[in-house]
Symmetry: C2
């Protein structure tokens, strides 16, 4: 079954057989991961469109997919002609998933789903909806039935432990920390379901998820025991021994639910509903010895506030990454100036050449976004060989990329002028740069939240009734997923920043069919000092790569913004020079010249 | 009893008789008003210090008063030698009221209070504390017993209804609106306890509270009835008729509790615990026919979003007030330049002369703060005849003042250079001005909160680890109290601004013993427009009075800030000129010259 219509037809046939009127596929794996391993990407298989934070619903004669602002343009293009409507989430006049399902699910109808990949919170909402409509919500394994032949196997890449010299804390120390947090909440156990949390807790890494060095696994922790549930035959004897030394036993991934059902000790089990699937929720509730406590995963905060080793390592990784970015930009400029034709997909090839030559390189931290001209208006555009644009000598090339090294994970966006710019293009770039700098140079009294700081980022755009339909920034895991919480820079985020948290600062302008600009550094929250008014915090960049000032309307910047930019470029030159050869340093010196 | 020690001795004698070990007097009247009528100011009588948001506690051999940041300096001075410790709220190392009481209240001890003036929320906290300590909380009328001779009577000023041409909506219309809100919350009645809410609901005004045109009153509203409880013999027959026409009956103020106790109909009564006193809470709970629902006062939002009439009136009142401010400043400059000696209390005299000559003048909206030099560091400094400073020809004079007219209430602060300034003084002024402008020129997508916008105000100070220990701004009632909620500009305020809300924008710098600067306009939230990203809002000043630019380091302002300032001054000149004579216009023209 090669085409989307063929796949949908097969699914619909299975639906008829199962007495199912609508089937829902959220963009989730059993851990509510942001990026799911191929085995679980049913919403992509049946729609032909790759994205995150989506829901695909299929009925006998209709189908629709809800996507968020990052994917509006790309979804419209990809879904055209498939019979699947592209639904823009949060846009006035577009029915929400609930409204749409409400129309379809009259009394007696059946809404099917796969419990294993259904986030428990969504499952409860769907259940409420079905009850209200007199419909029935049913766990039906139709995906498993229909998607067999060309389905990727469950991942099983080698799993290993991140060395203490990169992690800063051993699994035994981290388990002790976690048990302390559990005891403080009157819990005796926790089911760790989020892959990020598990990777942090056990220092476990693998390559089960594309671009993310994580192992597909669960971990059950009580006061005496810790059991890692994963595909165990990909773990070396040495790693197994390290885990055993830290008091960690192992079990098979598919045995997680059975382990919970079979538990024989009374436990008060903490689970975070944000990463729990409906199948494990059922297993937990089926065991009367368990008191289930739902709450925020305490590992999130432990993980988000980086320790000194993690910070030192990640700073070092960013310099290596910065040197690769410099070499990439030099090659890009040289080849373009020679009149060579480059396409968007060539960008990733060049970047990969430089990044992967670093000794500690593991993987790109996400699919490189290289978007020329109007393509850059699609926030999460991924160019594909054969369907990518040529980089023409005008306007902007947006490059959002990053890598995970043994000592850190990077995420950086630069927007390059690849030809003459209009005044309007320069103004847009300058405004985005102001947004970036206004966050980067913020100082705040301890306690200020991501929502409050986000206001600084948006003023230069909001004053002109412009905006970007996404947060200003997200956390970044240490040698892990490129997105982490709980901190974020977005309206109404009520998480206060704490020294040691890492955040991206990536405002942008995206005008569909026209232009896309983003400038992104990673920042770390540090102490600014103390005065009679209290303790003050600020951000410090950890990304050091020149920002193209040839696109800037200098008069539009404030004196303080210019100072920040000059200071930043002085640091870029100072920090990257030791990693570069003489020619490269000379090139960098011109890029870092004060304005 | 003239002295504080004498008063405390009398209170302590009554405490011994009543078996009371500690007596607490919060700064509250029966409505949790910010400014209480003299009759209820026990905390001031027994401490000798006037302030808001305070608690005075007296034990047999100790006494302490908790004051907030606005009053630190003034409280230290006033309480010195009284035997009452000045406790700085929120300062590290200073015990909180609860901690302090925890030390004093061992098992069996009795903490006394007056239920009528005890906010119910505070009462519950004190009760929890007493239970924890094994102590007892007792309603003991010791204030009424001890404070008899020189106690102000219950206020009884003429009460009248604000004309429809100023209020925009009749009491009957407003009652209908309120009943709609109650029904939406499944309530059948409401006990309106906040004086602001009552004044809005019935358009009732009086002068019971100093500088606030309100009547001390409660209002009971159910679906059929509305009863105003106040001192009724100060209401004219005409006003009584107007109330009757709107379906409002009357009862006596002191009969409120008895009315509730005697209620014979089943009701679901909404009360806002934020303005309910413990005595009325007891009365409500004692009647088994009532189901008491605690929730936010729905009138607050109805009142905060001004109607078109209110906005037009208040804009007009601000111009009249602006003309008075211009005349005041002209006289100030002339008299100082002639070498005349002026004292801080002279400022109010001059201001009153100009403001009170306006046809629609009712009262000053609060005690004028006129503070020269270091005195201005005390945020709520009130100069007193005989104890006020001479305005010397150096540094700054801070003047925070306002009035209530029949068509609106004003609140404005200007800081004037009254002699040569140091660079440091100019820098401080410039930074405060930047804070002011950065809020005033903000544009935001609908939904942004006061906490998020507050971030803009503080950046120019936070970047230098400076701050002010108060909010950036507060709402202002229409022909009413100078402070209103629910909107505010302060960290973490989660109330989103709505077109029609009025807010002050009054950042400052206060360095104890050294300098005080504040620049304050009132702003109104208006629609900025709509784009593909949504609806945008902004502020528009309604205060039009020149801002002293001779104190500004122009290079420190951004281009946008300069533009704002020039645009503002052009508006000041245009809007005030029709109200001024030729000489005044000429003077204003120089003050409003573009920079």
């Amino acid at each position: 079954m090669k085409t989307v219509p063929e796949r949908l037809a097969a699914l619909r046939a299975a639906m008829v057989q199962a007495g199912c009127d609508a089937y829902i596929m959220p963009s989730s794996d059993p851990h509510s991961s942001e990026y799911a391993p191929g085995h679980y990407t049913a919403w992509e298989y049946f729609s032909g469109f790759s994205c995150e934070n989506a829901n695909l619903v299929v009925t006998a004669d209709d189908a629709a997919m809800w996507v968020d602002g990052r994917f509006f343009g790309a979804a419209d293009t990809a879904l055209a002609g498939t019979g699947i409507a592209s639904m823009h989430m949060g846009v006035k006049g577009v029915p929400t998933l609930t409204e749409w399902l409400g129309e379809k699910l009259s009394a007696g109808k059946v809404l099917g789903y796969t419990a294993e990949t259904m986030p428990v919170m969504q499952c409860r909402k769907l259940n409420d909806l079905c009850q209200k409509q007199g419909a029935k919500l049913a766990d039906l394994p139709l995906v498993d039935q229909v998607w067999v032949e060309d389905r990727p196997a469950l991942p099983s890449t080698p799993a290993w432990l991140l060395d203490l010299s990169y992690a800063g804390k051993s699994p035994a120390d981290k388990l002790a920390l976690l048990r302390g947090k559990l005891a403080a909440q009157n819990c005796t156990a926790m089911l760790v379901t989020k892959l990020d949390s598990l990777a942090w807790l056990l220092n476990l890494r693998a390559s089960d998820v594309e671009s993310t060095p994580y192992a597909l696994a669960f971990c059950y922790v009580d006061m005496d025991t810790a059991v890692l549930f994963t595909n165990t035959n990909r773990i070396s004897a040495e790693t197994l021994q390290q885990l055993a030394d830290a008091g960690v036993k192992t079990g098979e991934y598919m045995g997680m639910a059975a382990y919970l059902t079979a538990g024989t000790a009374q436990q008060t089990v903490l689970v975070d509903p944000a990463s729990l699937n409906a199948a494990l929720d059922n297993a937990l509730r089926s065991n009367s010895l368990y008191t289930v406590v739902e709450g925020a995963d305490p590992i999130a905060m432990l993980k988000a506030v980086k320790n000194e080793t993690e910070l030192a390592c990640t700073r070092s990784a960013h310099l290596v990454d910065g040197a690769a970015m410099v070499r990439f930009q030099m090659e890009l400029e040289q080849r373009l100036s020679k009149g060579e034709t480059l396409r968007e997909t060539d960008i990733d090839t060049i970047l990969h050449k430089y990044r992967s030559s670093a000794q500690k390189f593991i993987t790109e931290s996400f699919s490189t976004i290289a978007a020329w001209g109007p393509n850059a208006a699609m926030m999460h555009y991924a160019p594909k060989v054969g369907a990518d644009a040529e980089i023409q000598p005008k306007g902007y090339l947006l490059v959002d990329s990053g890598a995970t090294y043994y000592d850190g994970t990077t995420d950086i966006t630069r927007t390059y002028a690849v030809g003459p710019l209009t005044e309007e293009e320069k103004l847009a770039y300058t405004r985005v740069l102001r947004c970036h700098i206004d966050v980067a140079m913020a100082v705040w009294r301890e306690g200020a939240t991501g929502g409050e700081l986000d206001m600084l980022a948006r003023q230069p755009l909001w004053r002109h009734m412009l905006d970007y339909r996404c947060g200003t920034g997200h956390g970044v895991s240490h040698v892990g997923a490129v997105h982490e919480g709980p901190q974020s820079l977005r309206p109404h985020s009520n998480v206060a920043f704490v020294p040691g948290m890492v955040i991206t600062d990536e405002p942008g302008i995206y005008e569909e069919g026209h232009i896309g600009i983003r400038i992104e550094n990673e920042l770390v929250c540090v102490e600014a000092g103390e005065s009679e008014y209290g303790k003050y915090l600020r951000f410090e960049p950890i990304t050091f790569v020149p920002i193209d000032v040839s696109c800037v309307l200098l008069d539009e910047l404030t004196r303080e913004e210019k100072q920040w930019l000059n200071h930043y470029h002085a640091q870029v030159l100072e920090k990257l020079s030791p990693l570069l050869n003489e020619t490269e340093v000379e090139w960098l010196r011109t890029k870092c010249a004060a304005i």
